[in-house]
Symmetry: C4
Subunit: 482 residues, 4 copies
Amino acid sequence: MARVWSLSEVARHNSPSDRVYDVTEFLPEHPGGAKIILKYAGRDATAAYEPIHPKDALEKNLSPEKHLGSIDSTGARELKEEQASRKKTQDEIRVERAKAIKRPINHILSLQDMENVAREVLSHKTWAFYRSAADDEITYNENRLAFSRFFFHPRVLRPISNVDPSTTILGFPSSLPIFVSAASLGKLGHPLGEVNITRGAGRTGIIQMVSTYSSCSHAEIAAARVNASQPLFLQLYKDKNSPVSEKLLRDVEGLGYNAIFLTVDAPLNGNRERDLRAPFELEEQERLVEEAKNPMGNAGEMPERPEDADNTLVEGELVLIGTSGGLRTTGDLDQSWEVTLPWLRRTTKLPIVLKGIQTVADAVKAVEVGVDGILLSNHGGRQMEYSLPPLEVLYRILYIDGGVHRGTDVLKALCLGAKAVGLGRAFHFALSAYGEAGVVQTVRILQREIILGMRLLGATRLSDLTPEMVERVDWQPFLSKL
Amino acid sequence: MARVWSLSEVARHNSPSDRVYDVTEFLPEHPGGAKIILKYAGRDATAAYEPIHPKDALEKNLSPEKHLGSIDSTGARELKEEQASRKKTQDEIRVERAKAIKRPINHILSLQDMENVAREVLSHKTWAFYRSAADDEITYNENRLAFSRFFFHPRVLRPISNVDPSTTILGFPSSLPIFVSAASLGKLGHPLGEVNITRGAGRTGIIQMVSTYSSCSHAEIAAARVNASQPLFLQLYKDKNSPVSEKLLRDVEGLGYNAIFLTVDAPLNGNRERDLRAPFELEEQERLVEEAKNPMGNAGEMPERPEDADNTLVEGELVLIGTSGGLRTTGDLDQSWEVTLPWLRRTTKLPIVLKGIQTVADAVKAVEVGVDGILLSNHGGRQMEYSLPPLEVLYRILYIDGGVHRGTDVLKALCLGAKAVGLGRAFHFALSAYGEAGVVQTVRILQREIILGMRLLGATRLSDLTPEMVERVDWQPFLSKL
Amino acid sequence: MARVWSLSEVARHNSPSDRVYDVTEFLPEHPGGAKIILKYAGRDATAAYEPIHPKDALEKNLSPEKHLGSIDSTGARELKEEQASRKKTQDEIRVERAKAIKRPINHILSLQDMENVAREVLSHKTWAFYRSAADDEITYNENRLAFSRFFFHPRVLRPISNVDPSTTILGFPSSLPIFVSAASLGKLGHPLGEVNITRGAGRTGIIQMVSTYSSCSHAEIAAARVNASQPLFLQLYKDKNSPVSEKLLRDVEGLGYNAIFLTVDAPLNGNRERDLRAPFELEEQERLVEEAKNPMGNAGEMPERPEDADNTLVEGELVLIGTSGGLRTTGDLDQSWEVTLPWLRRTTKLPIVLKGIQTVADAVKAVEVGVDGILLSNHGGRQMEYSLPPLEVLYRILYIDGGVHRGTDVLKALCLGAKAVGLGRAFHFALSAYGEAGVVQTVRILQREIILGMRLLGATRLSDLTPEMVERVDWQPFLSKL
Amino acid sequence: MARVWSLSEVARHNSPSDRVYDVTEFLPEHPGGAKIILKYAGRDATAAYEPIHPKDALEKNLSPEKHLGSIDSTGARELKEEQASRKKTQDEIRVERAKAIKRPINHILSLQDMENVAREVLSHKTWAFYRSAADDEITYNENRLAFSRFFFHPRVLRPISNVDPSTTILGFPSSLPIFVSAASLGKLGHPLGEVNITRGAGRTGIIQMVSTYSSCSHAEIAAARVNASQPLFLQLYKDKNSPVSEKLLRDVEGLGYNAIFLTVDAPLNGNRERDLRAPFELEEQERLVEEAKNPMGNAGEMPERPEDADNTLVEGELVLIGTSGGLRTTGDLDQSWEVTLPWLRRTTKLPIVLKGIQTVADAVKAVEVGVDGILLSNHGGRQMEYSLPPLEVLYRILYIDGGVHRGTDVLKALCLGAKAVGLGRAFHFALSAYGEAGVVQTVRILQREIILGMRLLGATRLSDLTPEMVERVDWQPFLSKL
C-alpha cells in the first residue's frame, strides 16, 4: 500500500518530508481547522506538527490507505542543512540565551518565580498561547485580584505541630487539596509534554486532569503513572461528531482513567488576542532589527501602502489563525442539559463533573440533574471576558480553578467551601521551566505554603478551615507585583 | 458676473488662490466663527478649507454675486513649488513614516488596534480634534471605565450554533445592534471623508448617522449608499438662524434621509483642551528641534520675556481657536422643550430622536413630549466634564453611545435595556487608518465579538440578553491598557 | 541719631550692608523666629530680607533708635561684583533658562497650565514654599480628589444665551463666585508681590483677601486698588501679643479694608516637609554636579562619617528652619471661643469670618456665636494632615477653599451650598508666572469655565445651581494628570 | 581541657578559626537550625556569627567541654590578608559609597527619611532581613494603608500652648504613647546593636521591648540603661524545650526586666521571600557584572542546563535558608491557652502581655483568661499573609503595632482606643542609619509630630483623643510615596 515517493514528486507539492499523507478527506474533521493544514500542504510539517499532536494522532485519525508512504531521502540532508544554517530569529536568540542562564530550580520560591522562568525560556508564540486570556485580560486579572480582597482571621495559641492537608477528590486520595487542571499542548513547553505532570503528580500524590487535546497520547500518559493506582481524570471537549467523543471515552476508560470533567464553558474558543497577536509581533520584531541595520535614510523610499490595497479585503467574517485561534473548530455548539448530559451518562460509567460552571443558577441546575461534581471556573479567563471571578461566586459550590498563585489562595477557597482547587497554567509553566522537576517543585511550594498557612491560621485539618476565618474587605489592596 | 482677477490684484490681499470670493457679509454666519476666516483673508485658503467643508459649501452659503471669479494662474506654479520645497515639520515626517510602515489591516484585531493605527497616521492636530474631550478628559475615561464595572453571568449548556444579532432601529433593519454615531470633518482623516463610512455601513448592513457638519455634502453621502434603501440618519445642530436649519431639513428629506437626531447637549462646544493645545504643542516640537541643533550655548543670550509684554493682554473674555474651538459659533443657545421641539415637529415629518440626554429627569420629559427615541450620550465626554457615564444612567433608557470599545460593551448595554449602541470616534479612526476597508473591519470586529459573546453567554437572540446576565460590581477592575 | 558706620566696623560683624540695624531686643518678637535673624547677623541680609517683608516692616517694628545709620559704601562695589561673578547654582541656571523660553500667556488654558509655568520659573525654594503641604501631602491631594468624586446631572433644552455668574460676598459685589484666599510672601514669586493680585482682582471685579504676612504692606495694597470702592479683606493671624494684632486691625480699618477673616486652623504652622527639605535638595543637587565632574575614582578616599559625629546631636526638640518652618513663631496658641472672639468683636467693627473651620461641630458653634461667615478650609492641606477635604464636609456650610482647579469645581461647591469659593495658591502661581497679567488670565479662565459649565448644565443664575445637579459617586475616577 | 589545635588539624575541617568548638550535640537545639551551622563546619564562622549572636551565646549554650581550645595562629595572617585582598562585591562597593555620602542626621525629617538612609547603608542581605514580610507583602503594605483610610476632625479655637503627650504602659511611665517593639539581630545594622536603642530610649523616656533573639545579650542591654529605673520588657519566643525559656525568664527577672510579651503569632516563621531571595539576587548581580565584562559573544558557548539536572531534586519538603528562614526552628508549635499560659504564670511574676493577637475572638479570650495586656499585631506583616491590618481590628483592643510611620498614625490609634503604639523596624532602621543618635532622632520626630498633631486637633492630653475625632472614609486615598 505505502509506496516510496521521490522528492521530486513531493517537490511538486513544494518540499520534502519523512512521510507522505493524503489529508484531503480529513480536512473538515481537523479540530484545528482545515486552514492550518492547507498552510503546510506539500511541505514538511514536522516541526509544526510534533509539539501539538500525540504520537498516535495520525494512526487514530487517518485510515491506513491515507498513509501514502515514506520518503526517498535523496537530497533531504542538503535541505536540512540549509534549514539549519538559516539565520536565527531574535526570539530564538533570546530563548537560547535564557536557557543558558536559567536560574537553578532551588531559587524558585513561588509560583510567580516559576512563571517568570517559563516566560523567559518559552518561545514568544508558546508563551502567548499558554498565558493568553480573553480580550483585554480583565477576567484573567480579576480572577487573581479576587483573592486579594479576602483576608484572614488567624487564631493563636492552638497546637499546630501535627498538620495534615490531605483530602479525597471524587473518592480518590490526594496529598493536598489541589489538582492539576487540564491544559493542552504541553510539548510546546517541554519535549516530554504532559508526561512530566503525570510523573510529578504521581511523586507528590496529587491528581492530574488530562486534556482532550493533550500533546501526549492518553495512553502515553496512562503508561507514565508511578503506579497503577495513580488516578487520572479526563477533561472532555465534546466533539460535534458524537462518535468521536464516544470513542475517546471508551479509550480512556480502557486505559484506567477515573473521572470525566465535561467542559461546558468552551464549545468554541474565546477571543485570545495575545495568542492571535504573537505572530504579528514576531514579524514586527524582525522588521525593527532590519530597520536598525538599514535606518531611516530609505524611509522616504518606502512606498506608502496604497489605499486600494486596504479595500481589497474580502467579504465575510474575520478569519483568525493563532495557536489557539485555529483550535476547537470541531466543538459541539449545541450542547444542552437535555441532550448532552443524558448522552454522557449513557456513554460512560465514570463519575461526571461539569467544568466551567460560572453562575449560581447553573450550579443549582447541575445539582438538580445530579452530576458528581462542579468545577467552578471561567477557563482561567480565556473564554467569556467579564465572567465573574470564581472566588466571588464560590460561597456554596464545590471545586474551583482560576487565579490561584499561593497556598493562601487555596486556603481561602477552602474556607469558603471549596473541596479542592485546580491549577492549570501553573503546571504548564512548571514543565516548561524545569520539566518534571518543575512540576514537583510547584507542588512542594504549594505544600509548604498550605501547611505554613494552616499553622499560622491555627488549623491542623482541612475541616478546621471555616468561613469565619475569612472576611471579604471593601477595598482593593495594593498589589505591587501585578 | 465672474471676472478674472490678476495675481497682482489678489496679491494686494496677500497671496494667490484658485478662486476669489467676497466673504464680508457672510462672516457673522460662519459656523466656525469670523476669526478663522479673517486669518486667511487675501491668502490661498485651499489646504485649510478643503478637509473641513463639503464641496457644495460655497455654492450653498454664498450667493452667486460673491463668487468674484477665477484666478489668473500666472506665477501660481512657482508659488506652489516654493510651498512644496519648504522644510517638512517633525509631525509631517512622523506621519509619512507611519504611513510607510502601517500594519496590514488583517493585523487589526480590536477597535483599540484601529485607534492605535489612526493615532499613528493622523496629523497631531487631526488626532487632537478627533480624540479630544472636555477639560481633563475624566468623563471620556469614565465613559469607558463604567463598562469595566459590569460583569457577566454566562450560562452554559445552551445550544448556540445559530446566532442572530440583527435588530431594527426606528423600524429600519440593522445587521447588528450598533450604528454609526455622527462625527464631523471626516476628510481630515481620509481624502474621501464620511463617504467611506457610508459605503462600509452599506456593505455590512448597519446604519450611519450623518453630522450637520460632515465634510462630505449630505448629497454626496446619499449618493454613496450601496442601494437606495440603505437608511441614513441626520444629526442636527440647530442653527440660531432657524431658516438655515429648516433648509437643511428640507434638503436631507429630499435626499431620502430617514430620521433626525436633534443634538441637545451641545448648543455650544465644550472645553476641548487637547484640541486647543495641539498647535502650541507643534510649535514647541519645532522649537525643541531647533534648540537641539543650536544648543544651550546661546541660552544666556535669549532675552527674558519682559514683564510688560505680559501686561499687554487685552481686556475681555479669553478667545480660543482650535479645530473644534472655533466651530459651532452659530449654535442656538436658546433651545427649549417649549419652542424647539414644536418647531422641529412642524419642520419635518421624519422620526425625531433626542441625542445627548444625560439625566433620568430629561429622559422622562422626553418620553412625556413623545419623541421617537432618546440617545443617552454625553457627546463622548466632549461637552460637560463630569457628566455621568451613559452606562451608569442607562437602566431604563433606549439608545446609548460613549465608551464602547468591545462587542462585550455592546452586550452589557443591551442586557441593561439599550436597543442599540452608537459608536462615533471609532469609525473616524477606522476611516483614518484604512478608509472604507477600515470601516468594514471595524464592523466585522464588533460582529465577531458580539456573536462570540452571545454564544459564550448562552444567548442566540438579542432578546435573550436580560438584566440578570449582568452585575455591577463594587470595585474598579484593573485595566492595564487604559 | 544715625551715625555713619564704616565697612570695617561692620566687617567685624562679618560683611557689608546698606543700612545698619540693632535687632537685639526685637529678636523674640520676630514672627519668623530669632534663629533666622541670627543667621544673618553682621552680614548683608538684603537679598533674603526683601522678598519676604513689606517695605514698612522695619519702620513699623523697630523704634527709630535701633536704626543705627547708613553704610559707608567704600569697598561695597567690589564686594557686589565679587558676589555677581560667583558661579551660578544649578537652580539659578534652570530658572534663567525657563524664563527665557516661557510660553506666551495665551497658551495658558487652565490653572494647571499656570501652575506648570510657575513651577518652571520659580526657584526651587519658593516653589517648595508655595506648593508645600503637611507631611505626605495626602490632604493636599485629597482636597483635589474630593472634587473628582462629584459628578453632574446636566439638563438640556434650556435657554442659556444670557448667563450671569455674579454674586455678593459679605454684601460686597463680586463678578464671579470666587475670591482670592490669602497667601503670604508674594514677592518671592514676582518683584511687585501681592499688588499684582490687587490690580488683577480690581480689573476683573473679584475680591482679594490679604495675608497678615503679605510681602507688600497693607497700605501699598490699599493704594493699588483700581478705585476706592474695590473691596479688600484682611486675613488675621492673631499675635500672642494682642496689642500687635490690635494695631494691625486699626491700621487696616483706617486703610479701608472691609472684613476680617480670622484664621483658626493655624495657631502654629503644620509640618510642611517639602518646604523644609528644599535647602537639603539644593545642596544635594550641587553635590551631584561636583561628583559628575569628579567621579567615583575618589569614592574610596571619601572618609566614612564617624559614628561619633552622629552622637553629638544636642538634646531637646528638633529645630527646623525653612521658608515656612521658621514663620509663625508669634502665633497665639491659646485662642478660644470664649476669649478670642469677644476680643475681636471689641477690637473691630468690620464683619468677621472664621477661616479654617474643618468640622460640622465647629461650624455649628460658629453659627451659635454669631460670626458673619465661615470659611471651610484646611489651609490647602498645609496644617493638619488627614483633615477631611472641605468638599466632603461642605453640605451645609458657607464659604470654602481648597482643591479648586476648574470652574466645574466651583460649580460643584455652589451646587452643594457654598456661596463662593476661595483660591489661594492659584493666584500666587499666576503672579509668579506672568505678574498681573497672570492674575487676570487666571480669573478669565475660571470665568470661561464657570460660564461654559453653567450653560452646559442648563443654568443661567447661580441660584439655578442646586444639590440635585450633583451626585457623589461611590468610586474614585481615574485622574491621569494627578 | 582546651588544648591548642594546629591549623593543619583544622584544615582537615577546611579552614582556620580563632577558636574551635564541637557543636555536634548542640545541632538540634540551635534556634537557627542545624543546616546553617553545618554550612560553616570546619571553617572560620566569625563574620557570619558575630552580628547575629550575643557575646555570651557560646558560654550559655555550649557546656565547657565543647570549647575545644584556641587556634595556633601560624599561617592565619596570610589567610586573613588573602581574604582582605579579595575583590569587593558590588553590594560592598555600594554600601561603602552610601556611607561616604550619607546625609547628615539633621536632614532626617521623617521616619521614611530614616528608612531611606537605612536602605542605602545596609547590606542587601540585612536590608532584606529587616524589611522582609510574608509572601507578596500585601499585609505589610495594608498595615500602612489602613492608616491612610482614617481621617481627622480637627477642632479649632482651643488653647493648646500646654501639651502633655506622656502616659504609662503597664504602670511604667513613658514620655510618649509609643514604645520600641522587639526586633532581633540589631548588630547586623550597627556594631553596637540593640544597645543603641536602650540608650536612645533612656535618653528620650520611652520603653524598649527586647527580643528573645537580640544580638546583644540581655545583660548587656540591662547594663546600658541610663539608670536603674529605666524599664525594659522582654519579648518571649517560647522554646519547644520549656526549661530553655524558664532559664531565660529567670535571667531577665534577675536583670530587672519589667514585663513579658509572649509572642503568640510566630511559633514558626512566616514565608519571608525578600529575605530568602537576597542571596540569589546578590549572586545574579555578580553574574551580570561578569557578563558586562565578557558580553554575549560567548553566549553561544554557554552550555544549556541539562534537563536531567533538573530532575535530580531530592524528595521531601523544600528546605530554605535565609537570614530569617533558618531562624526559629526551636519554636514551640504546640502552645495553647490551656497549657502555655498557666506555665508562664507559674514561671514568672512579671506582668504578661500577649503579642500577636489578630482577631477579636482571641482578644476576648485573652481578656477572659486575665492577661495584663494585649498587643494587637500581625508581626509587621511577617507572619500570616492577609492577616487584617491591626488598625482595622483595633476598635476595642489595647496595644497595637504595625504600619506606623507618622505621629498622626499614633494619634489615630489612640483616638480609636489604643493605649500606646509600638514600632519595631523603625528603630532598627534608625540604629542602622545613625546608631544611638538615629534612635533619638526617631523619637524626636515622632514627638514633634505627636505634639503638633495634638495641637492642630485641639487636644492637649492623650485623654482628649476620642473616637469622634477620627472617621474611616470609604475610599482609598492616593499615596504617592508608597
